[in-house]
């Protein structure tokens, strides 16, 4: 009885499998158009890309643009690279993954793409710094950037007459004032270790050189020296945050901020959609982290959120460039910005989201620097190290942390450091 039943189920399943499976699908397009495949790592921007692709395909007879925005895109991209099934263009972030893919020789040199001339210089510098070994060419087209600093509750600020601080002591003064008025100044979601990196990056751009990591690799400085002030200042934030912030997650912190339980929240602009999902009418502002005593030394923490890289294996360079040209038209960029917010990496007049107003001077003057963690290898888990440091109550906590930073850095980057130093010797020898 049981056997027959099981067999029945089994054969039904197999029949269904045979009937519905597409045993491999053809790559040749029936309409003879050249297909350009773009994989974007931002599933949240799927609607924007669908609109962009539709416009492109309506206006082009010879090229078909196919955009995919899979979930878990980085895993999917890596597995596709493993099986050597390359798309034409990838839309990724300007972070360590880019550095690694570039170092693995996956990308095509696009220096001859004319659009690069229109990119804001800050972002081109960031790309240079993301290269482990300096290269001659250009390998990415920065598209849209995000910014991180401190989000604040605008209505609460107006109500109490608080103003946006410009310096570190003004910031501490403001926190004290908020606390005295019975409101929670800051909320931290340190249960999710990665959120520790948000204030860390925002402080570090103002306090450490943007190429600190490269300098360390070349043996010119140590993190103990470069990050001392950042480490000390990130600890001060705990005095103004909710007790035991390691109990609360990113999501808890977003909800708390959205519900007006705190005046400020040190996180990037990327958190705004999540906050607004809880409180759609919230009036959110954001300001640059005032890390220094001198306002002029402060920098906006802004990094490339989306950039396009062309895979070396792509066969249709002409068509790919046509796609890039279309993507880089002002009107196309605006479609993306309207949907996703953010800062255009292209020079020009683009409407800035209302939440980023307080940062506009920095953006206009190009006073920006990249997230430091874009240079950290993810397996080093710097976020967890920061959390460990903040949990460490001993007096020597900062020393322990910074020394570990240096030793772990050497351990996780040793192949890279060797490469960098070999390169330096080569260059030195050539001169």
């Amino acid at each position: 009885m049981a056997k027959r039943k099981i067999l029945k189920v089994f054969f039904a399943a197999m029949a269904a499998l045979g009937a519905t499976s597409l045993w491999g699908c053809g790559q040749e397009r029936a309409d003879r158009k050249v297909e350009v495949e773009l994989v974007s790592y931002k599933p949240e921007a799927v609607a924007a890309f669908e609109q962009i692709a539709q416009r492109f395909n309506e206006t082009h007879d010879d090229i078909y643009l196919a955009v995919e925005s899979p979930n878990e895109a980085m895993t999917i991209l890596k597995t596709r690279f493993v099986r050597e099934d390359y798309p034409d263009i990838v839309g990724i972030g300007g972070d360590i993954n880019y550095s690694n893919f570039l170092d693995a020789g996956l990308f095509m040199d696009i220096s001859d793409f004319e659009g690069l001339a229109e990119v804001k210089p800050s972002y081109l510098d960031m790309l240079e710094e993301l290269e482990f070994i300096p290269t001659e060419g250009s390998y990415a087209l920065p598209y849209v950037a995000n910014a991180a600093g401190i989000l604040y509750n605008k209505d609460m600020f107006t109500e109490h007459g608080w103003t946006v601080p410009q310096t570190w002591s003004e910031f501490l003064g403001l926190c004290g004032e908020i606390q005295d008025s019975g409101v929670q100044p800051l909320y931290l979601g340190y249960k999710d270790t990665w959120t520790c990196l948000a204030p860390w990056n925002a402080l570090a751009v103002g306090l450490a050189d943007s190429d600190t990591c490269n300098q360390v690799n070349m043996g010119n400085t140590t993190f103990e020296a470069a990050y001392r002030e950042t480490a000390e200042k990130i600890r001060v934030l705990l005095d103004y945050a909710e007790p035991n912030p390691y109990a609360y997650s990113y999501n808890d912190a977003c909800t708390a901020f959205a519900r007006g339980e705190t005046a400020m929240y040190p996180i990037g602009s990327y958190a705004i959609p999540q906050i607004k999902s809880v409180n759609p009418d919230m009036n959110i502002g954001s300001f640059v982290f005032p890390a220094n005593e001198n306002e002029a030394d402060n920098l906006l923490n802004s990094g490339i959120d989306l950039q396009f890289c062309v895979m070396k294996e792509s066969k249709n360079k002409e068509a790919v460039y046509e796609v890039l040209r279309f993507l880089y038209e002002d009107a196309t960029i605006q479609i993306y910005l309207d949907d996703q917010g953010g800062i255009a990496c292209k020079e020009g007049e683009f409407a800035l989201p209302a939440e980023l107003e307080d940062m506009s001077a920095y953006i206009r003057d190009d006073r920006m620097a990249d997230y430091q963690d874009h240079h950290y290898p993810s397996e080093m888990s710097v976020d967890a190290m920061i959390q460990t440091y903040l949990l460490d109550q001993s007096d020597s906590a900062a020393d322990t942390f910074l020394q570990r930073f240096d030793t772990d850095w050497k351990r996780y980057n040793r192949d890279l450091i060797r490469k960098v130093q070999e390169y330096q010797q080569e260059m030195g020898g050539a001169r």
Binding site: M74, T75, K78, F81, V82, N100, F101, D103, A104, G105, L106, K191, D192, T193, N244, Y246, A247, Y248, S249, D252, P377, S378, E379, M380, S381, A384, Q387, T388, L391, D392, R411, Y412, D415
Partner: protein, 293 residues
């Protein structure tokens, strides 16, 4: 003579069944594992170019404090978990297998924990540990309960353990129930006639008959608990202060997400050897027990 011939035809059938299965198993388990073993001697990131680095990864394994810590955490977790899971699920199985009302419904309900997805588990238990238990602790003036145990370096593993056991009991109960089914009804009847009480019945009759299932359950639960991954992923992500990083979590996190594929392959090889050793030990000890009975 005749018997021998019969045996050999039976053996032929056994081999004819076993060989294709072995080929399948080799192709999709052993072969990729051999490849992984080869990668453990490289600095491969998972894609792109790589170099052979000799035994460096293995030497590093023994000097890496993070790896050492993850082994300690994992063993502590697995040991406590194995005991809890097996005691609880045997009790559950006995309960669910006795003469109770709503048997089907109850069995179905206790099965649910095992099928809830990671996102649900993570959100709900984080909420319970972060808000509900501390609120209860404050209301009842229980000091240690007032802070989220997931935020405590010392206690976070207990939070993970509670959820891990809560989920694992469901699965092991199923195996114990099917084990109890192999105990013939008339054995119990004979017992009742002898006037034995429930305790003696359990220790003298039931337990010896389900020993093979205890072996299976011990091996499976130890293995599952040693490979703890989902609960870490959804509850703590290895925190606070890296106190709940399990071996599997580290292998996945740094090998797949990070660029340490080669190094973590070496870790996986070591881990594999360790678990196989533990399981063979368990099976031999319990195998002897089975023979005795």
């Amino acid at each position: 003579m005749k018997k021998n011939k019969k045996m050999s035809s039976r053996d032929k059938t056994y081999w004819a069944i076993t060989i294709p299965v072995l080929i399948l198993f080799f192709t999709f388990n052993t072969l990729p594992m051999i490849k992984g073993f080869v990668y453990s001697f490289t600095n491969y990131r998972g894609y792109g170019t790589y170099e052979y680095v000799g035994l460096r990864n293995y030497i590093d394994l023994f000097s890496d404090a993070r790896v050492g810590k993850s082994y300690l955490f994992t063993f502590k977790y697995a040991l406590a978990g194995t005991v809890l899971v097996n005691v609880l699920s045997l009790v559950m199985a006995l309960g669910l297998n006795s003469k109770i009302r709503f048997k089907s419904a109850l069995r179905g309900i206790y099965f649910i924990p095992n099928v809830l997805g990671g996102l649900v588990i993570g959100f709900i238990f984080s909420f319970i540990f972060t808000y509900i238990l501390p609120a209860a602790g404050t209301a009842l003036h229980i000091g240690w309960l007032q802070n989220s145990i997931l935020a405590s370096e010392k206690a976070a593993w207990i939070g993970v353990l509670i959820v891990g056991v809560w989920q694992a009991v469901a699965m092991n109960t199923i195996i114990y129930i099917s084990g109890l089914q192999t105990v013939p009804e008339d054995v119990y009847e004979a017992c009742m006639l002898d006037g034995a009480n429930k305790w003696t019945e359990f220790f003298k009759v039931t337990l010896p008959l389900v020993v093979p299932f205890i072996t299976i359950n011990l091996v499976l639960s130890t293995k599952n608990l040693l490979m703890v991954f989902d609960q870490i992923m959804s509850l703590t992500k290895g925190g606070p202060a890296q106190s709940t990083e399990s071996i599997s979590y580290l292998i996945y996190r740094n090998g797949m997400d990070g660029g340490q594929f080669g190094f973590q392959s070496a870790n996986a090889v070591l881990f594999f050897i360790v678990i196989v050793a533990i399981s063979i030990f368990q099976m031999t000890v319990l195998g002897k027990k089975e023979e005795q009975l």
